[in-house]
Symmetry: C2
C-alpha cells in the first residue's frame, strides 16, 4: 500500500537552505503524519515535506522540483475526501498551513485578501465585525483551508443560494508548475483561466494569495426542521419549494439511517418516527424571510410533514444543524467502517436515484445512510460496512461505485463537490471520451509541460505533453498573410 519514499536528499538539502530546519521534514515518523488526506483509504508517505511561509518560498521549492523533474503535491489542511492531496512517495509535499495571514479586509469593495492556509471559517471571523462573511461553507469549514477550497472548488450546504467557491473568488496569485508567480483575475479579458484554475485539484499550480468576495450578513436567518414519513414525501416538498420560486439558503435532507446515526452520536433530538428530515434555511431581509417562511411551512405540511420546528435564534438553529453537521462522523456510532460517496443528479431525478440506492443496498446486503444537499441534487450516501467481515469492504466498494453509475444514468455526475482526486479518476472514462480527456490534458500541458504538479490525479491515464520544444518553444509568429495552413 505504501511504497518506501524515494531518496531526495539532494533536494532536501536545497530546501533546508531555502526554508531552514523549521521548514523541512525528512524524519520518517513525522512524514507519516502526512500520508493521507480525509480519504484514508489511499496512503503514501512523501519523500520530503516542506512548510513554506511565503509565495517566494513556494516558488523556489517548485522551481527546484521543476529543475530536477521531481513531482510535487500541495496540501492545505488535508480534509479533502477524494485523495486530491495524496502525497507521492517519490515527491515533495508542499504544505501551506504556515501561510495563514489575512492580508486585507477591504470592506468598501467587499473583498478580503488571504493566504492559502487560512481556514474557511477564519475569513468569516475576520469579516464579521464589519457585518460580512465568506459564503461557501463546507462541513469542514472550521479546519479546511481556503487554498484547498480553491483547488477543489468546494461547496457546502449554503451553495444552493450562494454558489460554489468559483462564484466567490475574484483573483488568485499562484505559483505555476514551472515556478513562476502569476496573478489570475476574474476581471481579466481573454480566456477565463481563473475559472479553469479553480477546481483544478492542484494540477495547474499552487495558490499563494486569494482574493475572495465578502457577503453581507443577512438581516435574519430562520431554520426550519420538517419531519416526513419517508424520503419520497420529503422529496415532494423540495420540488414544491423550488417550484414556488423560493431559493432557500439551504435545503438538506437526511434519511432514517442518517438520523439514527446522528441521534446516537450527538442526541440531536429530531422528531421521533421520522423516515426523513428536511432542514430548510431562509435568510435575507426580515420581511422577505417572514413571507417565504410562511409558504415553506405550508408547503411542507401539504407535502406530508407530520412535525415542523422553527428556529430563529442562533442557539436553536445550531441545535437543528448539529445533527446534519455531525452526520458523516456520526455513522461511526452505528457502523465500524463506512465510505462517503459524492454524486449529483438533476433535482427531479432524486426520487428515482434514491429508490435505486435502496435496491442496491438490498441486493448487496449493505446499509446506506443518505445525507444530501437536496436543493442541488447533491447526494452524499454513506455506505456502511463491517471491516472485520470477509468481503464486506469489497461489497461496499461495489455499492459505492454503482451509486455513481446510477447518477450517470440519470444525467448526473460522478462528483458534486468533493472532486475527482485519486479516488474517482477511474470513473472519468464513463463521462468523457478519450479525445475529451486528451483535450483536458493539453490544457494541463499549457501550465505544466513536465507533468509534475500533482500528477496521477483527475486523469485515469496520465499523458506526457509531447516534446517540450514542440509545445513550449516551437511557437512562431504567424506569417504576415495570417495563414495558418503551414502544417
Amino acid at each position: 500500500m505504501t511504497p518506501a519514499p524515494a531518496d531526495l536528499s539532494g533536494l532536501s538539502g536545497r530546501f533546508l537552505a531555502m526554508l531552514g530546519p523549521h521548514g523541512v521534514i525528512t524524519d520518517p515518523v513525522r512524514l507519516r503524519t502526512y500520508e493521507c488526506d480525509g480519504l484514508t483509504y489511499h496512503r503514501a508517505t512523501p519523500a520530503v515535506v516542506v512548510l513554506p511561509e511565503t509565495a517566494e518560498q513556494v516558488a523556489a521549492v517548485v522551481r527546484a522540483c521543476h529543475e530536477t523533474g521531481t513531482p510535487f503535491v500541495a496540501r492545505g489542511s488535508g480534509t479533502g475526501l477524494s485523495g486530491g492531496a495524496l502525497p507521492r512517495s517519490d515527491g515533495v509535499l508542499i504544505v501551506t498551513s504556515r501561510m495563514r495571514r489575512i492580508l486585507e479586509i477591504d470592506v468598501e469593495n467587499r473583498r478580503a485578501v488571504v493566504e492559502p492556509g487560512v481556514t474557511n471559517l477564519a475569513i468569516t471571523e475576520a469579516a464579521r465585525p464589519y457585518g460580512y462573511y465568506y459564503a461557501p461553507d463546507p462541513s469542514s469549514q472550521q479546519i479546511c483551508s481556503i487554498g484547498g477550497n480553491v483547488a477543489e472548488n468546494s461547496g457546502g450546504a449554503h451553495c444552493l443560494k450562494y454558489g460554489f467557491t468559483v462564484n466567490h473568488v475574484l483573483a488568485v496569485e499562484l505559483v505555476t508548475p514551472e515556478g513562476e508567480i502569476v496573478l489570475l483575475d476574474a476581471m481579466d479579458p481573454g480566456y477565463d483561466l481563473l475559472g479553469a484554475f479553480i477546481g483544478s485539484e492542484g494540477t495547474l499550480g499552487i495558490a499563494t494569495k486569494i482574493t475572495v468576495r465578502l457577503s453581507r450578513e443577512p438581516e435574519t436567518v430562520t431554520t426550519l426542521l420538517a419531519a416526513f414519513p419517508d424520503v419520497e414525501t420529503g422529496g415532494v416538498a423540495v420540488s414544491a419549494i423550488i417550484g414556488a420560486g423560493i431559493v432557500p439558503a439551504a435545503i438538506e435532507m437526511m434519511d432514517a439511517l442518517a438520523i439514527e446515526a446522528a441521534e446516537a452520536a450527538v442526541r440531536c433530538d429530531y422528531p421521533p418516527g421520522a423516515g426523513a428530515v428536511l432542514i430548510v434555511e431562509l435568510d435575507g431581509p426580515h420581511a422577505e424571510v417572514a413571507h417565504e417562511f410562511a409558504r415553506v411551512d405550508a408547503i411542507c405540511r401539504e407535502s406530508g410533514a407530520f412535525a415542523v420546528r422553527v428556529a430563529d435564534d442562533p442557539a436553536r438553529r445550531a441545535a437543528i444543524w448539529k445533527g446534519r453537521r455531525s452526520a458523516f462522523a456520526a455513522v461511526g456510532r452505528i457502523s465500524p467502517a463506512y465510505l462517503v460517496q459524492d454524486g449529483v443528479v438533476p433535482r427531479t431525478a432524486l426520487p428515482a436515484v434514491l429508490a435505486g440506492i435502496e435496491r442496491l443496498s438490498a441486493r448487496y446486503g449493505i446499509r446506506v445512510a443518505n445525507v444530501f444537499h437536496a436543493g442541488d441534487g447533491n447526494l452524499h450516501p454513506l455506505v456502511l460496512f463491517d471491516d472485520a467481515e470477509e468481503g464486506a469492504g469489497e461489497r461496499a466498494e461495489l455499492v459505492s461505485g454503482e451509486i455513481l453509475d446510477l447518477c450517470l444514468e440519470h444525467g448526473g455526475s460522478i462528483t458534486g463537490e468533493h472532486g475527482v482526486g485519486v479516488d474517482k479518476s477511474r470513473y472519468m472514462p464513463k463521462m468523457f471520451t478519450a479525445e475529451d480527456l486528451d483535450t483536458m490534458q493539453l490544457v494541463r500541458c499549457a501550465f505544466d509541460p513536465r507533468n509534475l504538479s500533482n500528477p496521477g490525479k483527475i486523469f485515469p491515464t496520465p499523458r506526457l505533453c509531447g516534446e517540450v520544444p514542440g509545445v513550449r518553444k516551437g511557437v512562431h509568429p504567424l506569417v504576415a498573410s495570417g495563414e495558418a495552413d503551414l502544417f
Copy 2:
C-alpha cells in the same frame, strides 16, 4: 481597408452540396452585408458565407475548413462591439441566424435548451408564460443572439445582481475547431472547460446548442430615477447603497452630456438641470422591495439628489429606462460620429477615473458622454467627434485609448463586457506578459491546433501551435513508475 476576398470556389462547391443554394452566399454584393459587426470601424468581406441549419451542417462546414486549412469565423446577429465577428477575406463566415429553434422549456428543472441563433429576448418570451425569464440583458437583447452572448460572455444592466452569461449557462454543445460535436456541462468533473469556452470569442469552437438557466420572474419590480447636481454626488449615492448591503437589480448612471443626447433623441423627460441621473431598480418579493426602496430613496436624498421619481408599473418603468437604453444611439443626435468605449474599474475608483476622463476630454478638446453600470464599475464612455474635422477621429481614438490606460492605472481592465475581439487585442500586452499570453494560446491550441477558429482575435501576436505531431499525436502513456522526468 477591405482586401479582396480570396477565391474559395472549391470549398464553396462543397458547401453547396452540403447546404443547398439557400445556405451558401458567394455573390459579392450580398457578401458585403456581412463585412462588419456592430463595430463598423473594421471591415472585411468574407470569401463565402454559409447559413447552416443544424449542428451536423456546422460540423461538416468546419471539417471542410479544417481539411483545407481555411480560417472561419462564426457570427450570430452581428451586434458585437469589439469586432469579434469581423470576417476574414480569406475565410468562411458561418452565420447561425437560421438556427433559431427553442428546443425545450423545462420548467421543472428551470432550464431552456436553445439553438445559438435564438435571440436573447426570445428566450425570455418563451419562458414568460411559465413565470420565468432569462436574466442577462445586453442593451441589444431584442436582436443579439444567445450564441454571441456565449462567445462574448455578455453582460447587461441587470448583471449587477444576477451575474453574466457564464452564470446562467449550464451546458453547451459545440463544434470544435476540428469539426467534432462535443458537449461541455457545468456539472462535469475535471477542468471547467465550459467556463473557458464561455467568453472565448469564437476561438475555441462554435456553440450549436445552449442550455440556459431560467430565473423566476420577481414578484415586484420598482425603478427609481434620482437626479443629482453632478456625477460625484451620484457616485456617493452608489457607494452608500452598496455599503448598506443592498444589491439592486441594476444601478445605472448617465452624465449631463448623455442625458442631453437622450433628451434630444427620445425626449425621456428627465428632471431638468440634472448633472447626472441614477437609475436604481429593485426586484424581489414585494415586502423586500418596499423595505429596500425606502432605504434607497433616503440614501439618494441624503447624498444630494434634488429629485426622485418612482415607477412600479411597466409603462412608467419603461419611460425611465427609455433614456438609458437609447443612450448609445442617441449621441448621434449631438455628434456626427462617436466611439463606444468599454472599461471597468473597482467601484471605489469610479470618481477618480471620471475626473481623469474629464481631464482627457479638456486636453484633447473631445467631448465624452458617460453612461455606465455604476454598481459594477463598468464604464461606457461615448467619445464624440466630428469626422469631417481634420484629425478629430485620431484625437478621439487617443482619448478612447487613454481611458483604458486610466482604467488599468486604477486596477481595472480593458473590457467590462464587450470583449477583446479585433479592436482591443493591441491592449492585451498592457495587462499580460508575453508568457501569460503564450499560456492562453496553448489553451487555444488544445482546442484549435491549426489556428483556424476566428484567428486574429483576442491575441495581439497570433502564434502557431508548434508541430502538430508534438502537440496532438505525441502523447504517450506515462511509464509505469509514474515518472515524468523523461525530457
